[in-house]
């Protein structure tokens, strides 16, 4: 400990680039007049693009670690970070018109968004309890502020408050679990932890299970798995739609990474135990998410419950404890994030000054007024339901395959039966768009921002494109766990 070892900074280059750029954006934004706010957006998108370039530039062929083993850059981190940054770009651009209409087009929105993204990247690469926790808090604190971004909205403030209290509690639970692990194993480093767990299992199995339970609860809280899901619908509904778009897409990727880092990298010897817990969480999430979604009239709440059911599927992929399962869950997570960015993106397009589109009925007659946008949302809904040839089908297929591979056919049957229930409410959205006739004066109107439309179209068509050619993305996910 006496001499200071210069850590290898190269693996963290993307994070360093991003942090530097965040500072730049923050300063530049100070000197911009409101009408030039577009420049902040441009600079933020440039930040993310530069970060992606940095990720690709430093992408190792093998796993490398730095900072005394507490930071790791492996294939999984590379793929997930690129997905995180790429989706954040989409979120930023989709949000613009909404922010302008609601008079919250401020530079801080993008700075906070970038900070959240940085937090997620740290979570993805974190290989020590402490670093993962720091990343998580950076993400959460940025999100609290983003949810409350519209100061004048009471419902948004309520949502932010709720998220803050519950999030703090979840962090507390996670920290408690971490502290017990530290107490019984004496290390915070995940790699070292994995080394000492087998020995500890013999000496102190009860404390180990106790600590594991808190870790699993903390992860489920952050992911929104039943029974720790209560915050999800309220936050989705209360937050400004542009923030809902952000919460509903990118952080799921980081949550998945956190689950993998903690449960798989660190505690794979306890797989028998955590997979039991995940079975309960997964089945409950599938059941509650899909069934309660049927009763929703608010589109954001509907998507919230749909998220919960998708989390159930992601947990299904993790719980077999096999490489194919992890790859399937990773594929599912990325696909889910892409799909829901389309769904929320369409919802954002429907918003306009003085009108907050959030009910399912606000979509009625969309096929009449704007068939192309309706088709994009229909594709997103079918992808969420898992109807081929959309990519959602392959996501479900790969998870089911992983579950059946370990002889848990009954679990697969339960999962597909809840998928059928889920299909019902996705079909209802399509029904409203295509079959219902709106009042003539209430035809949904779409703003004509060409760049958003082009991006959204590409995003929506990618669901079909990836559905017909899922090999490449699936290959990356499999590579990450081989």
């Amino acid at each position: 400990m006496s001499e200071f070892i210069q850590p290898n900074l190269l693996p963290a280059l993307p994070e360093i680039v991003m942090l530097a750029m965040i500072c730049l954006v923050l300063v530049v934004d100070l000197f911009l007049p409101q009408e030039k706010r577009g420049f902040t957006l441009l600079l933020s998108v440039a930040t993310l693009v530069l970060t992606i370039i940095a990720i690709v530039a430093v992408a190792p062929s093998d796993s490398i670690s730095s900072f005394g083993g507490s930071f790791v850059l492996d294939q999984m981190a590379v793929v997930l970070k690129i997905a995180t940054c790429g989706l954040s770009i989409l979120v930023f651009i989709y949000s613009r018109d909404y922010l302008i209409d609601h008079d919250i087009y401020k530079g801080e929105y993008y700075v906070l968004g970038l900070c959240a993204t940085l937090g997620m990247m740290i979570m993805i690469s974190g290989h020590s309890f402490l670093l993962i926790y720091l990343g998580l808090e950076l993400l959460s604190l940025s999100l609290y502020a983003m949810i409350a971004f519209n100061r004048n909205s009471a419902i948004a403030s309520e949502a932010a408050m709720k998220y803050f209290v519950l999030g703090a509690m979840a962090s507390g639970l996670l920290l408690y679990g971490i502290s017990i692990f530290y107490g019984i194993t004496g290390t915070l480093n995940i790699e070292q932890l994995a080394g000492v767990v087998p020995q500890t299992m013999k000496e102190n199995p009860v404390a180990l299970s106790f600590a594991l339970t808190f870790i699993v609860v903390g992860i489920s809280f952050k992911l929104g798995a039943v029974p720790f899901h209560m915050w999800v619908p309220d936050i989705y509904q209360g937050a400004p739609t542009s923030v809902t778009l952000f919460i509903g897409t990118v952080p799921k990727i980081a949550g998945f990474a956190m689950a993998i880092r903690l449960l798989v990298d660190g505690l794979s010897d306890l797989q028998a135990e955590w997979s039991q817990m995940l079975i309960v969480l997964a089945v409950a999430s599938l059941a509650i998410g899909n069934i309660i979604a049927i009763a929703q009239t608010n589109f954001k709440r509907l998507l919230a419950y749909s998220t919960i059911s998708h989390i159930g599927f992601i947990l299904l992929g993790i719980l077999p404890g096999t490489d194919t399962g992890f790859a399937a869950a990773m594929f599912y997570t990325i696909v889910y994030a892409i799909t829901s960015s389309v769904a929320f993106g369409v919802l954002l397009l429907l918003n306009r000054k003085g009108f907050e589109a959030e009910n399912i009925n606000d979509l009625s007659g969309l096929n009449e007024s704007n068939p192309w946008i309706a088709a994009l949302l229909a594709i997103a809904m079918l992808s969420m339901a898992g109807v081929p040839p959309t990519v959602g089908f392959y996501a479900k297929l790969s998870v089911l395959q992983a579950v059946i591979q370990v002889d848990m056919v009954w679990l697969a049957v339960i999962a597909v039966l809840f998928t059928v229930i889920g299909l019902f409410y996705y079909l209802r959205v399509i029904k409203v768009m295509y079959f219902d006739k709106p009042e003539p004066d209430q035809l949904p109107t779409i703003k004509q921002s060409l760049d958003v439309k082009i991006l959204l179209s590409a995003n929506g068509l990618s669901l079909i494109g990836l559905g017909i050619f899922p090999s490449a993305l699936m290959g990356y996910c499999i590579l990450a766990f081989s």
Partner: protein, 504 residues
């Protein structure tokens, strides 16, 4: 081989790409959308003709095969090819789509391009379903075809269309997801999703029974068999004419095809063990649903129930083979049963299409499907009445029409299994005649019932064209079914040979 496989791919993808083209052409020029759609459907039909003319009838081996790796991670392949079972169904699909597009020419005025595109997409997906030899490819097409049909019923359907279309989608989906689990299970055993590999997979009885039941749910809903048939009358009644035609003529056949492609060869022992279940369900469909059809007041509902009864014959033919094989070692009887089922599928494709088109013709004029609103139509629409009576006779199984051939083959084969099965099956000839002809009597004949009927105008050339084509097809198949039987015979023989060997 390359050119062969390419041809089959073209038949699948031409309508799908054509559908996208029609969709992007948009509604500014509806007549343009119609013309493109017709051109695409005719092109597809022309492309599908070589599948018949160049088909080698001496072999059961798969022809026009194309096999490429598609998703290597799961060993999923783009693997297509046809044999004597699938080829006739593909031709039926490409043929029927042309009829549907002609029949919707003037009738559909709302969102023409979306309507036409939906049918072209469906055509491609259905042909893909019949050609796929990789089970995931099959599943993909199998599910994908639901989406356009869902929209067709939901957008252009009748008053209660939303209930009907959601019921249709959910019923079919719940059946198919269990099949998906079965497919993945077999993949975990073989490491491949190829249907041919599944055929060779050895399975224990328990596994076979569970897999058989999973397939049964999927295909029984699709056929549909009693007691999971209830979506069909709803869907038919609410669907626009074109939707009803495709639904009855082709989509139901996917279920029958599935039994032949999956259930029988993959789980022969379970099929033999549980054949009583299918036979009971089929006979119930024939007898009970026949009586239900008798009391219908809505013409489309009546024809829908008649479809269920006729499809009961198909499944009876497919699953009676085990009883025939038990009693009689020669394969002729069982081949007769399977071929009878297949002929019945093709024939029902023509006849049900024709019946629904006939109802569509008078519905377009009177906007009513109630039998009670009609009467004496022959006085104002003599040409139409001639067609409808002819199709009704075919539906009732009049010798000389295609409806007779399949039913006669199945009944004949059933006699080798059991007199009583054959007896109950034969009631379809009586019941079918009763409900069809009674409907004809009430709608077509008699005094002119009301002023609306008095004001009817007879069918125009376009309507004569498509009804005429169907009449010719029904007669041709009825008088000379040999070309069809010849095509499928080697495949059926091989299938029988395959299922007679235990996989335990």
């Amino acid at each position: 081989m390359f050119a062969d496989g390419l041809l089959l791919s073209l038949v699948i993808w031409t309508p799908i790409l054509g559908g996208a083209l029609v969709l992007f052409a948009g509604d500014r020029e509806p007549s343009g959308a119609r013309k493109i759609a017709l051109a695409v459907s005719i092109a597809t039909f022309v492309l599908s003709i070589p599948l018949y003319t160049q088909f080698n009838t001496d072999t059961h081996l798969l022809q026009f095969v194309e096999r490429n790796s598609w998703i290597p991670a799961f060993n999923i392949e783009y693997f297509i090819g046809i044999d004597g079972i699938s080829m006739p169904l593909i031709l039926l699909t490409s043929f029927t789509t042309i009829i549907v597009i002609i029949s919707s020419w003037e009738v559909i005025q709302y969102r023409v391009s979306q309507y036409m595109a939906a049918f072209l997409f469906m055509e491609g997906f259905m042909i893909g379903t019949f050609s796929a030899l990789d089970s995931i490819l099959f599943f993909m097409f199998f599910e994908a075809m639901l989406v356009p049909m869902f929209l067709v019923i939901g957008i252009w359907g009748g008053a209660n269309r939303i209930y009907a279309t959601i019921k249709f989608f959910l019923y079919t989906f719940i059946g198919s997801v269990l099949m998906l689990v079965a497919l993945i299970y077999m993949y975990s055993k073989t490491g491949s999703f190829s249907i041919l590999d599944f055929h060779l997979l050895r399975l224990t009885m328990t596994e076979q029974i569970l897999i058989f039941l999973a397939f049964l749910v999927a295909f029984a809903v699709k056929v549909p068999m009693w007691p999971v048939h209830t979506w069909l009358p709803d869907a038919h009644v609410e669907a626009p004419t074109g939707g009803s035609v495709i639904l009855a003529a082709i989509m139901l056949k996917v279920g029958g095809y599935g039994f032949l492609r999956f259930s029988l060869p993959i789980t022969p022992d379970a099929s033999a063990e549980l054949d009583w279940l299918i036979i009971t369900m089929s006979l119930t469909a024939v007898v009970y649903i026949g009586f239900v059809a008798l009391v219908q007041r809505d013409m489309k509902k009546l024809i829908a129930y008649s479809s269920i009864a006729h499809m009961g014959f198909v499944t009876l033919g497919f699953f009676i083979v085990f009883r025939i094989m038990d009693g009689d070692s020669s394969a002729t009887g069982s081949a007769l049963a399977l071929e009878g089922g297949m002929v019945q599928m093709i024939s029902h494709g023509f006849i049900s299409a024709a019946m629904f088109l006939c109802v569509g013709v008078i519905y377009d004029r009177m906007h009513s499907r109630e039998i009670a609103d009609y009467g004496g139509v022959v006085n104002t629409m003599p040409v139409f009445a001639a067609f409808m009576v002819f199709f009704a006779m075919a539906n009732a199984g009049l010798p000389g029409t295609s409806g007779f051939v399949g039913e006669f083959m199945v009944i004949l084969a059933s006699f080798r299994a059991s007199f009583w099965i054959a007896f109950l099956a034969a009631t379809i000839l009586i019941l079918g005649a009763a409900y069809t002809l009674w409907m004809i009597k009430r709608v077509i004949f008699g005094e002119i019932a009301n002023d609306n009927v008095r004001a009817l105008t007879d069918i125009n050339n376009r309507e004569i064209l498509y009804l005429g084509i169907l009449a010719v097809a029904i007669l041709a198949l009825g008088l000379w079914p040999y070309p069809l039987v010849e095509v499928m015979h080697p495949t059926i023989e091989n299938l029988l040979n395959h299922i007679s060997q235990s996989k335990l």
